[in-house]
């Protein structure tokens, strides 16, 4: 019976819900939000990429210059801050308190990110292969130059045998 | 944790000799794929009394060998056995198939893939 009267009494109480768009809900000021990247401080060690559990960070590399580029998917990120903890350069990565935005279908979030991720890994592999090829080329060129120089030297003083 | 090595032949007797309903509770049964179709089976128990030590029965066997069930002694073991037989793709005595996995899912997901 008591709960019956309580229930009637509840009719005259202030509602416990908040009127959302008018009145903001509670958000703590160190809310976990999106990750912010500061390019000038980064030392390009890729530790953040290795630490990130869902794979929301990936670096691609330019095949000509070797310049790395940072990619981040706010939709894959789980705001766990592992990347910030792993980063050896203070300030290169920061967690802001800005909440993530809802994704749109047009942005092709999942497939687009997966494609970008794979392409970035490929670009790095391609850069590594290219670097190897260039090194090999350079080595061949210097070897050739050396051999020519030696042959030249041998021509000038034919008495000495070539070792 | 106490580790007790046993084998399939002696498992039921060992567990029956150890398990007292009001002294221990059964935690779960587990399997670890050691490679080459060798599987290590583990049964975990825990005491009710402080300091609540855990006991683990271990038996190794080939994956094709039928695993004996301990549910005559430990009644709730059927849940863990049914789960393990699905996930490991092993035969366990009297275990129902299809408890954890659907008909069209991958078979034995927890086994190592053959190279």
């Amino acid at each position: 019976m008591k709960s019956f009267f309580d229930a009637i009494g509840n009719l005259f109480k202030k509602p416990v819900t908040t009127e959302f768009p008018v009145q903001q809900t509670y958000i703590p000021d160190d809310y976990r939000g999106l990750i912010v990247f500061e390019e000038s401080l980064c030392i390009w060690c890729r530790k953040c990429e290795m630490a990130c559990p869902p794979g929301a960070i990936v670096f691609s590399q330019d095949i000509e210059t070797g310049k790395q580029e940072y990619h981040y998917s706010p939709y894959v990120c789980i705001y766990c801050k592992e990347c910030v903890r792993a980063c050896p350069a203070p300030g290169a990565l920061l967690q802001s308190s800005e909440p993530g935005h809802p994704g749109l279908k047009e942005e092709n979030l999942n497939n687009g990110w997966n494609k970008l991720f794979d392409e970035s890994l490929e670009s790095r592999a391609a850069y590594a292969a290219e670097k190897k090829r260039k090194q090999a080329e350079q080595k061949a060129a210097t070897d050739k130059a050396k051999a020519e120089a030696a042959a030249e030297a041998a021509k000038q003083n034919p008495e000495q045998p070539i070792e | 944790m106490t580790r007790i090595e046993t084998s399939f032949e002696t498992l039921k007797n060992d567990v029956a000799a150890f398990y007292k309903m009001d002294k221990h509770h059964f935690i779960t049964m587990n399997g670890v794929d050691l490679g080459n179709d060798e599987i290590e089976y583990q049964w975990f128990f825990c005491d009710y009394e402080y300091p609540c030590a855990e006991t683990m029965f271990v038996a190794k066997a080939n994956a094709n060998v039928m695993v004996p069930s301990i549910r005559e002694v430990v009644e709730p073991a059927w849940v863990a056995e049914a789960e393990l037989s699905d996930l490991m793709g092993v035969e366990i005595e009297n275990a129902d198939k299809g408890f954890m996995l659907d008909v069209d899912s991958d078979e034995a997901p927890l086994r190592k893939k053959k190279k």
Binding site: P28, D30, P53, Y79, C80 | H25, N30, M56, P76, G98
Partner: protein, 362 residues
């Protein structure tokens, strides 16, 4: 013999929170037999943890096993990984873990209680309990930065510190909650209509708990003081923080409600003690190397004993990780508890089981 009917409940049903299937065999209104199917949401998390993710990342993956007790899973995994690595974590990290686990217990128990009320047909009490529960969600958000997935424990410690203003806020809100909890205890224990639906219903007696190895509030409601917080001191110092085990005797829905309610007082006491006695120290320890050997760990989640087994092989990726969730242990007891009850009581009984199927089938 009267005619027997088979009544399926689930996998989708309004009385169920999660995909769970029961098949009841009834005679007139009495349930003679029940069968359960719990494997609807198998996601292969164990397999992912030992093939795709590095062992430091796994603590974030296992948090996704369950939304309600995500902190229990992350902490339990972190502890088992620390055992593999033989790490000693600071006392401060231990205290902060206890704080979040207990806050989580408050919100999980209140959720369960509200669903018992709803499934018993007491909609107003459901609303009331849910309204009172909101403070715990806000506190978790303030402490962890996330409302649901806390990601608070990592291998080696915790991720965030407790700011003094947040600590003050926690204590204040607990003070507001205390009279509200008294009110809830009064309603759940003395309300006449709720008593009709809950007293003597869904009994799992002491013998059955022993026979079926049930854990958590199931066992405590039947009078067995089994609680991992009471059992191990090496991972978290529960007794130091003022833990006491709560038991009831009858083992019915009513007793399970009361166990959960009284545990909230214990949780509140632990939280207060943790905040008042928070030691200084590091949040997380640094370590190098890879896990090897095998280890097990148990932790008291809101629904009972959570068990992890891990085996390392000196690489980044674990060899095997086994998760045994509390509801998984209770499946056998759950099926038994319906026996000889009216079919109309089934929703309340299911609510009082507080089943967590995402944990069970992972």
């Amino acid at each position: 013999m009267a005619t027997q009917y088979n009544i399926p409940v689930g996998a989708q049903h309004i009385a169920l929170l999660e995909p769970l299937h029961f098949k009841f065999t009834t005679e007139n209104e009495k349930i003679m037999k029940a069968e359960a199917n719990v494997g609807y949401v198998h996601r292969g998390i164990e397999q992912a943890c030992c093939s795709k993710f590095k062992f430091r990342q796994v603590s974030f993956v296992v948090g996704r096993v369950c939304g309600l007790c995500s902190i229990s899973h992350t902490t339990c995994y972190s502890q088992v990984a620390e055992k593999l690595m033989q790490l000693d974590i600071s006392k401060k990290a231990k205290y902060l873990r206890m704080l979040v686990i207990e806050l989580d217990r408050i919100h999980s128990h209140l959720l369960c209680l509200s669903h018992v009320a709803e499934n018993s047909g007491f909609e107003a009490l459901f609303m009331k309990t849910m309204a009172y529960r909101e403070f715990s969600m806000e506190l978790l958000e303030a402490v962890c930065g996330n409302r649901i997935q806390y990601d608070f424990s990592i291998v080696g410690g915790v991720t965030r510190d407790l700011r003094p203003d947040v600590a003050k806020m926690v204590l204040e809100k607990l003070k507001i909650f205390k009279p509200q909890l008294d009110e809830l205890v009064d309603i759940y224990s003395n309300n006449y209509t709720l008593g009709l639906k809950n007293k003597g219903v869904g009994v799992i007696a002491k013998d059955d708990v022993y026979r079926l190895s049930a854990v958590g509030p199931f066992a405590r409601a039947a009078g067995i003081p089994i609680d991992v917080r009471n059992e191990t001191e090496d991972t978290l110092p529960w007794k130091e923080a003022g833990f006491e085990v709560v038991t009831e005797t009858t083992g019915d829905v009513y007793a399970r409600n009361l166990v959960r309610l009284k545990e909230l007082y214990v949780s509140m006491r632990i939280i207060e003690n943790v905040i008042n006695g928070l030691p200084e120290g590091d949040l997380a320890v640094d370590f190098k190397g890879f896990p090897s050997g095998e280890a097990i760990n148990r932790l008291e989640a809101p629904r009972g004993e959570l068990f992890y087994y891990a085996k390392g092989n000196k690489t980044q990726i674990l060899e095997r990780l086994k998760i045994k969730a509390p509801t998984f242990s209770n499946v056998a007891a759950m099926v038994h508890g319906f026996h000889d009850n009216e079919y109309a009581s089934a929703p309340a009984i299911i609510g009082s089981y507080d089943p967590c199927l995402s944990c069970t089938s992972r």
